[in-house]
Each structure stands twice: as C-alpha cells, then as structure tokens.
Symmetry: C2
Subunit: 361 residues, 2 copies
Amino acid sequence: MTGEFALIDQYFKQPAAQQLIAAGQSVLGIGDDCALLDVPPGMRLAVSKDMLIEHRHFFSNVDPQSLGHKTLAVNLSDLAAMGAKPLGCLLGLGLPQVDDAWLSAFSTGFLDLAMASGCPLIGGDTVKTPNDISLSVTVLGYVPRAQPALLRHAAQVFDDIWVSGELGAADLAYRIRAGLFDLSHMPSGQATSEKVNLNKLSANQLMFETAPIDSTLLDQVNRALDWPTPRLQLGQALLGKAHAAVDISDGLLQDLNHILQASHVGAILYEPLLPVSSALLQVSPEVRQHAILSGGEAYELCFTASQSARLQLSEMAQQIGVQLTRIGQIVEAQGISIFDQDNRLIKPHMFGFDHFSKQSS
Amino acid sequence: MTGEFALIDQYFKQPAAQQLIAAGQSVLGIGDDCALLDVPPGMRLAVSKDMLIEHRHFFSNVDPQSLGHKTLAVNLSDLAAMGAKPLGCLLGLGLPQVDDAWLSAFSTGFLDLAMASGCPLIGGDTVKTPNDISLSVTVLGYVPRAQPALLRHAAQVFDDIWVSGELGAADLAYRIRAGLFDLSHMPSGQATSEKVNLNKLSANQLMFETAPIDSTLLDQVNRALDWPTPRLQLGQALLGKAHAAVDISDGLLQDLNHILQASHVGAILYEPLLPVSSALLQVSPEVRQHAILSGGEAYELCFTASQSARLQLSEMAQQIGVQLTRIGQIVEAQGISIFDQDNRLIKPHMFGFDHFSKQSS
C-alpha cells in the first residue's frame, strides 16, 4: 500500500485503534467501508459536522499541533452545546501535499484531544487538494432519550442568560494576527503608532520582536485562539438544569440570537456583567466591546435557565471548576437590548461573523 | 439572517425538513448545534465519510445536478458495501462563491437522491473557500446487531468472488474527459489520429463536434461516471448471504485487494468472466483491460460468498433486478492472479487509483 493509505496508517490508524480499545465503545474503526458502533441503551445519537479551510479559518503558518487540536475542539464544542457525551469522530483531511512533520504534529494535536475527550477517531477520508488545506470533522455523541437535550428553541421568557468562562481573548488574537488590529488602540504606555502587518510574523516573532506588545497578553490571547477547550463536562452537567444552549463560535450576540430566533423571544444583556478576559483590560473600550459582544471562536457555552436554578448552577460550576456568569434575561420583546453601567442602551456596531459577508476591519 | 445561513435555508433546509418528515426517522434536523436521531432497536450504527475536491475528483464544468447526486452516491456506496440501510447524511459545502443556479442544481441532485434513498439531510456546514469547491459528506446507516455486517476481513478460502453490474464505463468517461485517452485507441472505423484535449469541451460538444466518437457510447460512459447508482438494496440483501464486501471506487483490483489483505487470503480471477460494459467493446483490448481491472468510480459491489450460496444469490439478484457475476475464487496464496481465456496468467500494469501517487496517463 502506498500514498494516502500508508499516510493514514502511519499517523492515524494505529493510535486511533489504541484509542478505540481504551474507549471500549466502538466495534469497528478505521479500515472498512464504514465504522460500526453502538449507541448505548436509552441514548439518542447526536451528530455534528464543521469544516475548517486554510486562509479562511486558519493561517497557513499556524502551529499544526494546535490546528489538530482545534479542528476537533470546535466540533466537540457542538456536542457540548447539546449536552452530548462524545462517542467518536471522523476526519476528512484534504492536503495539497504530504508533509511528515506537519502530519505528525497535526495528528498528535487531534488524537490527544480525542483521547482526552473519550472521542476516538473511527473513520474518515484523506484526499489531495490542488491548493488549500481543507479539514472536515464529524463528531458523534449521545444524549439520554429520557431527558431533553439543550435545544435552541427551549428558551423561556424570564430565563436567566448565562455564559461560561471569559470572552474576547480569541477575537483579539485573531485581529492581531490578521493585521486588523491597529496597535494605536493600545492604551498609552503600550501603544505604538506603527501598524505592523502581523500576519506575516509568527507568534514568537510577535512576542519578541515588537516590543510594544505585551508578551503575556499575546501568550494568553494566542492560547485562547489556538487551544480552545470544548465545554463537554459543563454541557452534560447542564442537562436537566438549563433550557436552551449554544456554543459561541461566531460571537455572543450572533449565537445568542440563534436561541432567540428559534425560541421566538428576546434578550436583555447587562454589559458590566459580561465576563471579560483579563487580556482585554489592556485594550481600548471600543476594541474590548467588539471582542466581547461580537468576537468569534470563544467556544464558551451561552445558555438559558430558570431563575430557580441559580443556586444549583453555581454549585455545579464550583464542582466542575468552570466559571459561570449571569449576563442577562430572556424577555418577550424580540431582539437584543444591551445596557451599560449607567443603564443606558448601547447599540453595538457588529453582530458577529458571517462566512459569506464582507468582514469589517 | 444573511450570507451562509440564508443560503443553507434557501437550498437545503426546507426540502431537508420535508424529507425528515417523510422518512420519519430523525427527531431533530438542521438548525441546532447537532442533529439528534434514534438508531432503531436492535441495530448498530454504520458511519462513513468521503470528500470530493474540485480539479481532483471532478472537473469545474461538471453538471452541478449530477455532482450533487454523485457527492451523496459515493458515500451511500460505502453504506451499501457494509449492508447498511441509510439513516441520514450531513453535507460540508465549501464554495469559493455563491452561485444561485449552481446551488439550485447541486441541491436538487443531492436531495433527490437523499429522498430516493431514505437518507435525509440532517445537518452540515457551509463555508467560503479561497479557491476550489470542497465537498464532504458523512452518511449514517444501520445494520442488525444480530447479523454480521459485510466486513472486509470476512473472506474465506474457497469463497466465490462476485461483482455486481458491469465494469469499465466510468473509467473510460474519466479518461476521455481528462484528455488521457488517445482516440487512436479506437478500433478502425471510429479511430482518429488526432488527440483532442477533451477536458476543454463539454459533454455536448464532445458528442456533436467530434464526429469520430460514437455519441451513444459517450452518453453511456458519461452517465456511468456522473450518475452512479449506489447498490443499497443489494448490500442489504447480501447480509447473511455474503461474507466480505467492498465497493469499487478505486478499481476492482485495488478494492478487492483491501478484502484480501484484511482477510489474509489471495484471489484468482478469470478475465473472460469479468462483466464488461458494452461501451468498452468499441475500444482496444488494452484500454478495456485497464478500465475493467483498474478503472475507478464503478461503485459496484465486489463481494465473496460461500459456493453453497450460489443459487440463493442468483435468485436474489433476479428478484431485485441486479446483474451478479461470479468472477473468481478466494485462495490461500496471497496476491491476485488473473487468467485469460487460454488460462495464461496476465500481469496487469496498473492496480488502481491512489490520490497521493502520480497518475499514469
């Protein structure tokens, strides 16, 4: 066997087989026309699919190990938003050429997270592409049949709106890397008048060669963008406690809006309550507001729950070690209203990220 | 909602929802973080994923309706090779731009086959790509837990080797379209000394502007390449009757070899027994042999079964209206030996299609 098959074997098949044995779930993994697996009794299958395309979702010079991690993480995040427990995943890997070092690092990042998440690689496809790297993952998981999953249309008027973790860091990293972030936005002391084309530089170069940028900040925001943590444990713990949930991939407002539209309700958010990444304390209020409200790739969960669930949710958050913050309320009037610390209505300019819209700079 | 979301809604969501209702299988389709569905009691999930990349797996000027059909068909073919019944599918659609006419035709081809196969579209992802169309499908199906699926490692020594339908037509179409086929290979009467760059021409132009090519032949081979029929009914009917099975996507020899390697056995094939597409009777013996033995994209099933199953298989084939042909035997000695009509051993030059190998012309 040569070419693509040897490649699959070398980097994915053997470790994946070990993962299967460790997981004890699947009956047949990579190497046949299909993978075969059993959904545990009393459980319902949950399935989701996300693509990541070079130049569009990641830069060509991205660390391949973090890319492997992130390719699976963004998919697991969809399972988390459903309250589903992972069962297995399939990887479609489209590459313009075979690069051993790249494949070794990418597969390590992917399979390490697969193992850590109990989500063994059970199948996929490897193809040669003419130009760009094209990654496509399908994740399979399960939710109990007896309990409602975390559905977008399940939000109820008077529900609290909650968000996990902190917001904004990944968006800031993206804007710095894409050269969309004018460094003059940095508050005095860290500001520079020079607008550097940062997407030509590696993270290391950024940290060490452009002195005005705080290296701890860069480290923190880069980690948020490159190594997102899917909130799987939280998602499962929310079953029976939360109503509607969504993961924040396109921005808080845009993703919350999916819940609102599906549930035919509206929301009030209180800006001072929003959990801001400490990295954002160093940037201007305008950049901060955009990053928190409309910044993509946070992969935190936004969910709604009855007010009577507050104590239960706080206790659960402590138990599993995830920060949960109440940021607003579901209301009858459609749309999203955001109030600042003086209870004045804010009109945010950007409502997230749309693959087929022009991106604002 | 704008951009990608409107696009999904317009072309895929509404018809997909109708398909879900018609299928009565899924509990939640497109529009949430995951699709939710139930695997019927006593059944085991079968899942497979295949990618199709522009310039690599299809030409840019391919009829989008046939591309939509084929994108799903090649995935359903993997379910067929397992004996699985379809449950649902997910589509990853990477497009460089939004083209209404293209999307309308593509979605029609895709959803028509989904409906006809009882395989509703339950989810997916739409992304903008920088250069090429990138298609990725995951199909879900199920097999009975109580009965062995058609696994590659299940072939037994003395098994008959069978193949469905006829071989070679799709490969000839591909070679004509790619300009790999020297028309001087046509037997006298249809031959031309001119090697035309046919991939610059549409199928219609080929048929009407280059007189030496038989238009009925072209029609037949183009249909085989563009509108493959996944052998779903046959696959399910083979459960309990066949041992090992594979679908022929990369060429008879290469795909049969997957069975042989997994089962640690070898095979003897008899060339005069191979079911030749009538389109190939017009081409030279060399081109014919390559197309039958190593030609890809046939999407017929190759399977092995005990000799005692011959009558049962023939009756079943008649019942479901599929041609089945016995082409050889599983033997202990590893490798594939092919004998011609004079019982002389043939050494075929090419053993199929490998995405990361150089393609022979």
